[in-house]
């Protein structure tokens, strides 16, 4: 705050109040984060936020689907361009979810945040579903446009590897009974797997692929016409909110599952005693 060399009694009451109130705000912000680390507080927050998230997601999905339905045909692709409105958001989310899991993995390994491994475990099946949808819708878009459902090019293959890594992580979480041991192994695997994210993103630039290069997230700005860009962005936001909603719900389930596990251990120890 730049006040280190200033005597407190030299400050006006107004300045003192500003310092005190900004400190209180910082304290409150810090406490909010700490509160979120408490699973019980997290459950309480989720219960309050969930109805709003569900409603907003449903409204945005409805708007996005309507805009996708009334979007004009592309001059080259015709109506098949409508597949883009679900393929691209799922493709973005397939990578974004792994990014979220990578941050959670850092939270597990570095800060040992109580909710970090809960987040990673809850996100994996959702990320796998989005990646599966990206692959299937891409394949269904590829057949009429490229003449083939599948080509072993760099983009398609790297996304398939991402899908297999999601399945591997889910299997790992299920194979190890103790959640904290599974969390550390899964965190390492997640961080190693994060190497695949830039490979997926830049595969279309680094190699000669059948898949087209980026047309929205690129340095020169989007090359898509507004008639396609707006429905695409609405669907992307809607699917992102869907992810957040499903993630919070799955995290809530995981916290309850761990509560069940610990209470069952208490129950078993009482029986032994």
């Amino acid at each position: 705050m730049g006040l280190i060399n200033v005597e407190v009694d030299q400050l006006s009451p107004r300045s003192l109040w500003q310092i005190a109130s900004s400190g209180w705000r910082d304290y409150q912000d810090a406490m909010t984060l700490i509160d979120l680390a408490n699973p019980t507080k997290f459950l309480s927050l989720t219960a309050r936020v969930m109805p709003w998230l569900v409603a907003t997601t449903a409204i945005l999905l409805a708007i996005g689907l309507y805009q996708s339905a009334v979007a004009p045909d592309d001059y080259q692709q015709g109506a098949t361009v409508k597949i883009m409105f679900i393929h691209v958001p799922n493709a973005w989310l397939s990578m974004f979810v792994w990014g979220v899991m990578s941050l959670a993995a850092l939270g597990t390994l570095v800060w040992r945040h109580p909710l970090a491994d809960v987040t990673a475990k809850a996100a994996a099946p959702i990320g796998a579903a989005f990646t599966f949808l990206a692959l299937v819708t891409g394949s269904l878009w590829g057949r009429p446009m490229w003449g083939t459902y599948w080509e072993w090019d760099a983009r398609l293959t790297s996304v398939l590897i991402l899908f297999l890594m999601y399945l591997g992580l889910i299997a790992l979480w299920r194979a190890v009974e103790d959640p904290s041991r599974a969390a550390r192994a899964a965190a390492v695997l997640t961080l190693v797997g994060a190497i695949n994210l830039p490979i997926i993103k830049f595969s279309v630039d680094w190699w000669n692929t059948l898949h087209q290069p980026a047309s929205v997230m690129r340095l020169g700005g989007p090359t898509l016409d507004r008639a396609f860009l707006i429905p695409l962005l609405v669907m992307a936001v809607a699917f992102s909110l869907l992810f957040v909603t499903l993630l919070l719900a799955a995290m809530r389930n995981e916290i309850l599952r761990r509560r069940v596990r610990s209470l069952q251990m208490v129950q078993a120890s009482r029986r032994v005693a």
């Binding site: 309480s44 109506a79 679900i86 393929h87 599952r257 509560r259």
Partner: protein, 59 residues
């Protein structure tokens, strides 16, 4: 809304996306119900949390 000669590809894409998202939602909802039932059963058997609150209390 005319979808042209490739309508089956477009409809299948949206149908698959709908089915997968619905399965995901149902799976999470059923899992929540199962966990709540297990916590209620633990409550009924007299097991309590360290805080003294009911097992099924999610507030």
């Amino acid at each position: 809304m005319l979808l042209g000669p490739y309508a089956s590809f477009i409809v299948t894409s949206y149908a698959v996306a709908t089915v997968v998202v619905v399965i995901l939602i149902l799976w999470i909802a059923i899992d929540y119900r199962n966990q709540r039932q297990r916590l209620r059963a633990l409550d009924e058997s007299g097991v309590t949390r360290r805080s003294g609150r009911n097992a099924a209390d999610t507030r």
